[in-house]
Amino acid sequence: MKFHTDQIFNAHISFEERTRQVFDYQFEYCKPYRVFCESLGVTPDSLSSVSDIPFYPIDGFKRTTLRTSLAESVPLIFKSSGTSGMERSVHQVADESVYRRSILEYFSELYHLKESVILAYTPGYAENPHSSLIHMMEVLIEASGDSRSAFLPLNQKLNQAQIDDCDDKRIILFGAAFGLLDLTEISEVRLPESAVVIETGGMKTHRREIPRVELHERLSEGFCLSKDNIHSEYGMAELLSQSYMTDGERFVPPHWMRVFAIDPQNPMQRLPSGETGQLAIIDLANVFSCSFILTEDEGRVEADGSFTVNGRISKATMRGCNFLIDRD
């Protein structure tokens, strides 16, 4: 059965109603998720509220095939990044147009894509055919409709002439956190005042981990930009939607995505807004795989739906002799 994906992006339909439709569909057609829900006693018939929908561990993308389509092959496969020998998540994207629409609708809402030049300081598609980030860059570069939008060559200085040549539009420079820091170290160019730098995470790679606030300060200094122009993106191979931080403080998801904080000791328990927990996400754009994902990130969700991400959740379990000082 084909799902009419237009309704996912239709903000006139309540999020709860759209969620319910996606849940019913995935329960029917995504076998691992159905088995998971049934084992927890949750079925479309028993579900009284969408808040009772269980979140599926993101690890499942490494262990099983999460998709609703019965087709032998899918047009697009995303894999999480990882070093050799590491198990990688595999996200089979049955309908590329949903991903494309998810990227473009929200990005355009925030950044006026047609008035922007997209510069991506990331490896190209050829080197990373399964990277969702690179695919997103490709989509944005192409959709910008501007021939100056491009992947920048890695480990090369920014070209001031190339930057100056874009003065009629806003430059949006994308890149992984440390990649962008490296770029500030090898380049001595000034980005125009209107430019925006969007870091896509990866603050813990080949160097020490640095807090996001410090990262933004360093990028701000390095690119001679106001801190207001340093933004962040939160996305991953397992999700077909992205959230953006444009105020330096919190990520805001699109209207077809919601984030929740879950009690790390009890994945069935949502925490009240403002409390730190394990992030769980409903991403309706994942309609053909699984939309109800329990991530391995820690963060906090505010009452307005915006959220912060602290990094990977530490399940340094409160067990064994590892009870430190009592928690009052």
């Binding site: 084992s39 340094a316 590892n322 009870f323 009052d328």
Partner: protein, 355 residues
Amino acid sequence: MGLSALEKRLNYLETSIQMWLSSAELTQAVEKTIESGVDRSDVVFALRQVKEKCTADELEFWLSTSYQDDADLKNVLVLHAGNLPLVGFQDVIAVYLSGAQYRGKISKRDPWLLPSFLTILKRIDKTFKGRWSTDLDMFRDLKADHLMFAGSPDTLPKIEKQLVDKEIIAPDCKKLIRTAKFSITYLGSEPNERFHQLVEAIERYRGEGCRSVKVIVAPFSLYDHSCHLTDYFESYWTETQTNHDPEDATLHRIAYNKSIERPQMRLEHLLIEESEPENFEKDRVYWVNGGFEKISELLDQFGEQIQAVYSFSEALKALNQHLHDVKEAEDIATAQRPPIYWKPDGVDVLEWLTA
């Protein structure tokens, strides 16, 4: 010639333990502990261990092998864990025998058992000036020169800062930090009639001790002997009445495992799953297919998080030959019944205090 200070302490200790085990103070403490949610069977078991392991012979043996010199000038702060009943008993004994000044931050999770013993000890040994409290602030300005506690390297700096800021410990305080979290066992080639020891190693104190088995390495699959194993667990729970309803986290994990077709066994509240160990969560045990090499691999992977490696006696010799100097495997029968002189994280606490 009169008794030495050490001999007096030993006598006082033996007397105190005997009195305590039959005291009204202990009876009250036990009832309160059980009321707070600890299984009666576990409390009784812990006390039985004290009775059986803190004998005169065992204490004298410990002193003869580990006691170096009187530590009477030392001011020792012990931050007691509260995950198991009487988990800090060995530390109290060691500090007392060493002659050092005992200062105990008692866990709010287990605030009755240890104090009931300390009260008796103080009654018997009038010179014992030990102090204890569940309130850390009671130790402000203590400037302890020795600190013992269980923690993780991640949280250590935060705790230390708190202790230094409040001058609870001296800036050059000597620290004994325990970091191990769990134990592993090698099952040998076949199941045997001593599986009840494996069950106790897993389930005693609901698997919350660092000597509790969280990983089983076996050269056969979980499903090969699941019925056999189930019988032993059921028998254990019938005897101890310590079976519980599964927690939501366990049910969630069971559902997930089912969805990815991972071999697993649900036994009341406990889940045993056949997979590489990840997070060591409550009521979850990992079954890993492999031999001695797998044990070495896990020791490499988890390092200081592993408290002990066990096996059944018939495989112990060969396992120890394989492990050589890396770790000495113990008989699984001792998992929850270690001697009073056992070495948490490989450190003899009496030796550490009196060196």
